[in-house]
Amino acid sequence: MIGALELSGWDWAFIGWFLAVTLGIGLYYSKRASAGLSEYFLSGRKLPWWALGTSMVATTFAADTPIAVAGFVVAAGVAKNWVWWSFLFGGTLTVFVFSRWWRRAEVVTEIELIDRRYDGGAARALRGFKAIYLGLVLNAITFGWVTNAMVNVCEVVFDIRPALALAVLLALTFVYTMLSGLWGVVATDVLQFAMALLGAILLAVLSVVEVGGLGELVRRVGELDPATLEIFPTGWGTLSMTVSILVLVNWWAVYYPGAEPGGGGYVTQRMSAALDEDHARKGTLWFIFAHYAVRPWPWIIVGLAAIALEPRFFEYARLGEGVAPPADLDEFHQDKAYPYMFQFLPVGILGLVVASFLAAFMSTITTTLNLSASYLVNDFYLPFVRRGDDERGRVLVARVAVAVVAAVGSIVAWQMTSVAAGWGVLMQLTAGTGPVLILRWLWWRVNAWSEISAMIASAIAFIFARVGVGEWLAQTTGGPKDELQLVFIAATSVAVWVPVTFATQPASRAKLRAFYERVRPGGWWSSVPDECQLPRTLLGRELRMWIASTAMIFGALLGLGSLLLLDTMWGVIWVCIAVAGAVGLRMGFQSERAEREAAQ
């Protein structure tokens, strides 16, 4: 079987050693985590930028992500990666506009912002609903998705029955997550990301060496299909339309974990746990940079090397949808391209790479458990159920919540035959909620009913999209159905929640003043800043830094890629854009520093 590994005793020893070290570090933090909920869910708000940023990158990819990205390259070329690169605009917007506001809001979870921003019965109901929806439903599906991905990795990479291996891994991960709180999660995330990235880079280097160098790699793949090497989609085909829609809509419309419009989920949790707002911003910037510019190229290069060494991967991927592969291609599905290259790894490094898959799995699971428990405890138990317990009692409740989420997630993983399908449904269900999540920071008029109506409208539009509107749009325009559905849902949601906002009462002036005094957001705040006797926050510099950072990261991502694919001219151009963005960003930071010094 392709990619099925024969691990040496020393590789197994490395894997065992890695698991023991991870468990030991997790347990080290258990005493500290017992001090209170702030320690358990927010590390006492003492996370340095490098730890919180690295923890976010570690969380954002699961065990099958390298396999999926290499598979994209095999199936549709490098440009297919725009389906996730399109989220970059939203990521940098979160860094330069929202990260400081999140830290100033001093919330434990993103849901708690509802309590900071709105008042009344609708706000209370919204908070309770989102606590259960995000804490149990969405994160249980995430848990199931990540676990199912690990099952696939076990089958594809190890050729073993995954039940026992997964049970051991889940038990170990559950124990240290439950005991150690966010410090344990973050500390192990840092180790796990370093291993995962190092393993991927070494695999990419050895793969290129095996092919005979980058020149040979580009030559061989180019002979099969030059379009595979293109970083941007060529022509006006389905991929081009998909990418265009995603770049224009995805980043502000879709509530995707790790790329929530305006920040949310574990990104908000890490920003809230930062030492201060500067650490929150710097850490989130490091996360976005590492996520987009650093991480993908080793996986892409491995995918290209697999095609160069074994063109049958390419032939299989071009068979067309629904066409059964002939016997000689049966083993060459795109998902096997990444593990195919493991055969070229030496003893020791093979153990490290295999352990890095376990690391990717564990880092996502630990955050999912801790984050879900934070929703259930902070946004459901404390406001709706609590009966006079002390801090240590609350930590016990948090640990029970971790166990509940792990149990529900395990059942989901066990029962769902197609988690990917369920995941897609959930993503589209809330595809139109992004604008309201952004504008609640910027516009005083947004209220709890805005969020509620946006969610309901998204769900109803989703149903219409599924029963025929999506198909009709695809046939009428000739565009990609899923992405057109996304546009339809987002537009419908906006068309509903904006009128609802005007038809309902805004939050009380006292609530708006308290929010403004605490967060000092920019945007349209009517007379609230004057009532607070505070200056209005201008966003010009933040928006310039957003543009500069986006240019810097896209420049680094595409410049590195172009140089690796030996397109020197575009490589140099993109690197120049990256440098220009970095200079613009530096000017922004200097301007901020000068302003602070003048104020002192």
């Binding site: 490395f14 730890a51 500390a187 190092l198 490094i349 490290l352």
Partner: protein, 56 residues
């Protein structure tokens, strides 16, 4: 960060370098030796970087 809270991360990097250092010795080819050496050096380097940030 100037307290010792992050020290276990540094220790973790040092510990993960140990099997890679041993693998340099037991590797039977040059590629195995140099890749394990690079990986071990990276782990130790990251350990030192975190160690220095721990203020120890």
């Amino acid at each position: 960060m100037t307290d010792r809270t992050v020290m276990p991360i540094a220790v973790g990097f040092y510990l993960l370098a140990v099997p890679l250092l041993v693998a340099i010795v037991i590797s039977d080819n040059a590629a195995g030796r140099w890749t394990n050496a690079i990986a071990a050096a990276v782990m130790i380097g990251l350990g030192v970087a975190v160690h220095r940030r721990s203020g120890s």
